[in-house]
Symmetry: C2
Subunit: 457 residues, 2 copies
């Protein structure tokens, strides 16, 4: 039985940040991670030749100050996402090339429709109080419909609709019918609006850390040091008047408080003794994760750049739904990242690995030419197979959940505290949100113990 | 290590039925139940003086042939629900007395509105293919909106709206904003339409087994015999080419196949090795249980009958949301059952036991007169505290879930098969649906083994 001040469950960015800040504040910590690796929903793999590939969360953007603070702390530089050249959109088999966020080469009607919808979403986002989106004046109304229903009623141009549905629902790695429109507005607002969420340059995909996310989480883990234990899925968290007892199959940690940083559906698989309060317990049943496949296709060089293309493309429903240039800061090799989300990811996931690779490469070849047919490496990450993520990206709220259970997202349950990007009011869903949540949880447990006069720090 | 043909997880009606039918077919079975009692979401308690009280599912109705077949098999008689006298509705502080399903004493506008909505719901239900509701012609449209949104658009009279919202959402023990309208239509259709679901006489609350549900599940358990093990929550189900290994904290069962009969959110807390297919795994994250408090208030006699009241009443948002006469087949005592569901149940559950009892009795007194103030017994069941139900009644589908994941509701995952009322196309959500699912699962595992020639029966 290890006896420490705090026990952190999960070693993704939220958990590592919480542990780091607690250690820096002089508290003793144990971090229990279920997987045999750290990083959670980020995962940088180093391939032959030192090529690093982000198999999960990868980008940073303006306003994401807390991940940037960590990068400064550990001296991790960033580099800009490659955005020169044209982006491409494929709708109904037709290819459109365009610059910027809105494909102006679509029909004027589609372009106008897209433009007004962007403006409308931006206006609606401004009415959302980030700390309590369920208190927005029209919260009840928006939480009764799915994103799909709102798009039905507001986007009449078919290509505009397809593009928007793919782009927005894609953020939640689920079908547009599954996600509450209030949750969409809240999540967009927490990043600063639709321009940030759906944009690249000066937006959510603006830059990347040199060396990938690992360049940040690895030195964090080094500082957390021997307090970090891998392959220790937490099975039970018991709490009593003095503290918590956290049990894995092999070990038991006794601490004053626990910080659980894992996605909600994963948190629901831990047994809590006594049971959690009803609202939190029911929230755990109500915020599912989605499906996402992230594939890095590596070429000798980023050949699309010479063709005047940025590497960004979107083709709703295809085997290469979204692509983006994911090359490192080096000039070679070229890495094209294919992201497939939601129902399309589940369909692609059901294929054999060979068929899937064939489908993806054939799609890329059609879009980017013959050079796309012969990659030198091909790295596939199916997040639905990650037991301890429960699927990919962020957990979403179906209709009714934020208005009924939203208040339970951050509220601690006795000595069990909650972190994870889903619990962050700012940058909810991004790595930066995870970092913020970890810092908030660290402050929260210290303050709670200071209040009752038992803090040893 | 026990070695049997089949391992059944859960000893509610689905599990007990599966085990019974398998035993009757000459197969060996082990049933593992997490609780220290059988019955699952039904639970008959015998109080002092032999008074039996159904703390969970209680009623049966026409068309529920499979629970009735079990009753014949074990010689359990039924008695009719008391329905003489007037029902009562309280809206905006005003009491209305009425006969039948629709309170005709409301304003003509409200009555007309209620009537047309009932008709409309009935018509829509007829378009739902029970085996595959996601194939209904308008399935996509209905699965994009919550019940609350449909009521917004279709029920313009305020009292009609309040009554319908309470009655329909109550079935799912959740807020109307949480439940997919397609799921509502499907669940209603699986019982034969809104008249059955929302009615009493000749409908879902038509009759009760003499002795309560225990009179049925107890002799079933006796026949299943020593194969049934209590207080054995299943932690892990492993499957390989020859069979399954089912592990609890104390024991291990080896069987050819497993039948998991617990609610979906509870099934998600079992660890499956290897992981379940993506669609089933994600379905487990997507069908939550709701909140329900069921309170039996016992009086020397059913005094309301003498006052010309049936005991049925509805008062949206109150501490006694719905009441119904729950007396046994004896003339005394009188039992009034108070049912509070969804958000109101969560609110009531947060009160102290004393305050809650006070609130309920004061509400009953206002509605039924001074005699209601002095019960001789008071039995409260808060299903949100039932760890192995995950909440109360049936799991519901939020928007998008049936169209995206519905096909996974019944489909076996290798050697792991699924039962439970949620998996029944007919009478989904009732005890009869649970029985049907158990019988279907028993046939399914036998057929699967017959197919590969390993059946020992």
């Amino acid at each position: 039985m290890t006896d420490v001040d705090y026990c952190v469950v999960g070693a993704g960015f939220a958990g590592l940040t919480a542990a780091l800040r607690l250690k820096q504040a002089g508290r003793s910590v144990v971090v229990l991670e279920a997987r045999d690796r750290i990083g959670g929903r980020t995962f940088t793999e180093v391939r032959g030749g030192g090529l690093w590939i982000d198999r999960g969360g990868a980008w940073i953007g303006p306003g994401q100050d807390r991940i940037q603070a960590l990068m400064s702390e550990f001296g991790v530089p960033s580099y800009k996402q490659y955005t020169d050249g044209a982006a491409m959109m494929v709708v109904d088999g037709k290819q459109y090339r365009y610059q910027g966020t809105i494909p102006m080469t679509m029909s004027p009607w589609a372009v106008a429709n897209l433009g007004t919808v962007f403006l409308e979403l931006g206006e609606l986002c401004k009415t959302i109080p980030l700390d309590a989106p369920w208190e927005a004046k029209r919260a009840a109304e928006w939480d009764r419909i799915s994103l799909a229903k709102w798009l039905d009623d507001n986007v009449l141009s078919k290509p505009a609709r397809e593009l928007l549905e793919m782009a927005i629902a894609g953020c939640y790695t689920s079908a547009a019918s599954e996600v509450s429109f209030l949750f969409v507005l809240y999540q967009m607002a927490s990043g600063g609006g639709p321009g940030f969420v759906l944009g690249v340059k000066d937006a959510a995909q603006d830059a990347r850390p040199v060396g990938g996310m690992r360049a940040i989480y690895e030195p964090m883990a080094v500082e957390v040091g021997r307090s970090l234990h891998l392959s220790q899925p937490v099975r039970v968290i018991e709490q009593d008047a003095e503290g918590v007892t956290v049990c894995t199959d092999q070990s038991t940690v006794r601490a004053r408080r626990a910080v659980v940083t894992v996605p909600l559906a994963t948190a629901s698989q831990i047994r809590y003794e006594p049971m959690l309060p009803v609202d939190r317990s029911m929230l755990h049943q109500r915020m599912p994760s989605g499906a996402i496949l992230k594939i890095a296709v590596v070429y000798d060089e980023p050949f699309w750049r010479a063709d005047g293309l940025s590497g960004q493309s979107a083709a709703p429903g295809s085997a290469a739904m979204v692509t983006i240039d994911a090359s490192t800061d080096a000039l070679t090799p070229g890495v094209l990242c294919v992201i497939v989300e939601g129902p399309a990811a589940r369909a692609l996931g059901r294929m054999t690995a060979t068929d899937r690779r064939g489908a993806v490469l054939s799609e890329l070849t059609e879009r980017f030419g013959a050079s796309a047919a012969a990659p030198v490496d091909y790295v596939e990450q199916d997040w639905t197979g990650e037991r301890y993520s429960g699927g990919g990206m962020l957990s979403h709220a179906p209709t009714g959940v934020l208005t009924e259970f939203g208040a339970a997202l951050r509220e601690s349950c006795g000595r069990v505290h909650w972190a994870g990007t889903e619990s962050s009011a700012v940058m909810c869903g991004w790595v930066d949100g995870a970092v913020r949540s970890g810092e908030r949880a660290a402050r929260e447990v210290i303050a709670a113990d200071a209040l009752v006069g038992v803090d040893r720090g």
